[in-house]
Symmetry: C2
Subunit: 214 residues, 2 copies
DNA sequence: TAGATTGTTAATCGATTAACAATC
DNA sequence: TAGATTGTTAATCGATTAACAATC
């Protein structure tokens, strides 16, 4: 099934909200509850669910535990996924602090950096020289990467990742990267995103695009 | 004019490429050149331009300097914009390192943090206690903010920003924030974005959504 | 039962792409 | 001129929203 990135993002957001709701003892949710929590609409929520054959009860909404386990299954949250980060700078640190990764089945297994000063194989996760990337990734069969290196080495690092066996990346380098058709790249250009908000403020479109799911 | 966030993002990306192209001495570009550079299509490029009345020459494409100055005008790049960051953690540091901000007319004028240890009014930009946010923002008439604080204080910080006069934010807190209709929020949930790539890899949709402009 | 909520179909909306005339 | 490229209109595509029957 072809799935829009936006839909997938929403499914993750539903899941996130359910976990929170569960922690405060809620047992049932309605499409309306979820819509409210995400700034979406009830129809959208039901539509998303119907795409996956997730069903609720006509009068009682969705049973939380049930819904959550269906989403977990769907989103592959029952399996672990290893990730490496290229570039051991502040962005990498910020990601590691985002925390909750481990809880989410995503494990940062190593960082890689050019700068010998930043390297520290004893750290957990280890910070290794770029030269080790190929062997590490191919041996451990890591498939997910993050590109947090300066833009002028980003393509080179990506190429290295690709031959090593990485299948998709989250890219923070502000540059268009070339990759095979079946390779996934999710571009995050933080500066452009900030400039976009700056632009919107300046031109103060009165009937506002005030909510973006990015 | 109502403008899709995606269109604005593309305009910024064109501009970015033009600056690079200019630096290596290129004088003319074609819609095809720009499309290639961004992984877009020539039709898309011309369509975007036509929305703004930007025109080229039938046979010679677009004169680079000319195009660039039109984009600068359009995107408000001839004016400066001040921005504050709430939360002086690694993400804030990463943003400051992104560099090029000043060059882009965006100036980080202050950071704010709860933790007295992190505060340093002598730093450039100054790192101030949250208590100072209201006065600082209203006095300096800052309109743009970044939310880089933990999710459980994000709404509170946003409310504070709003009353202080901020008109839009780039939000890194993984939570749906409530704000007035004419307030701009651009949500960046880095974890969800990474999870999305992880999902796409797992389900390995062969006919790939391999390029995302997020 | 009456009221509330789901699940789905059809309508709308918006963005991207294709087609092509204009013209340098 | 012939060929290449623009600018725009129409077609397509996909996602969101509205409407509403089904039913707990």
């Amino acid at each position: 099934m072809r799935l829009a990135k936006q839909t997938i993002l929403r499914l993750f957001q539903y899941r996130e909200f359910l976990i929170l709701a569960k922690s405060i003892g809620i047992k049932n949710v309605y499409s309306d509850t979820l819509a409210e929590a995400l700034g979406s609409s009830a129809t959208q929520v039901r539509k998303d669910f119907s795409l996956f054959g997730i069903t609720g009860n006509k009068r009682a909404g969705y049973q939380l535990d049930d819904l959550l386990s269906q989403l977990n299954e769907l989103l592959g949250k029952n399996e672990k996924q290893k990730v490496i980060i290229a570039g051991a700078g502040n962005l990498a640190k910020a990601l590691m602090q985002y925390e909750g990764f481990k809880k989410e089945g995503i494990e940062i297994v190593a960082l890689f950096d050019n700068d010998p000063v930043k390297c520290d194989p004893q750290n957990d996760p280890p910070i290794l020289p770029i030269e080790d990337l190929y062997n590490f990734v191919s041996e451990k069969q890591v498939e997910l990467g993050v590109i947090a290196v300066p833009y002028y080495v980003a393509q080179q690092i990506l190429d290295l990742m690709i031959v090593a066996g990485i299948k998709g990346v989250l890219n923070f380098a502000p540059i268009y990267l070339k990759a095979p058709k079946d390779f996934f790249i999710n571009d995050m250009n933080l500066r452009l995103e900030l400039e976009t908000v700056a632009y919107l403020i300046k031109t103060r479109t009165k009937a506002g695009v005030h909510k973006e799911s990015s």
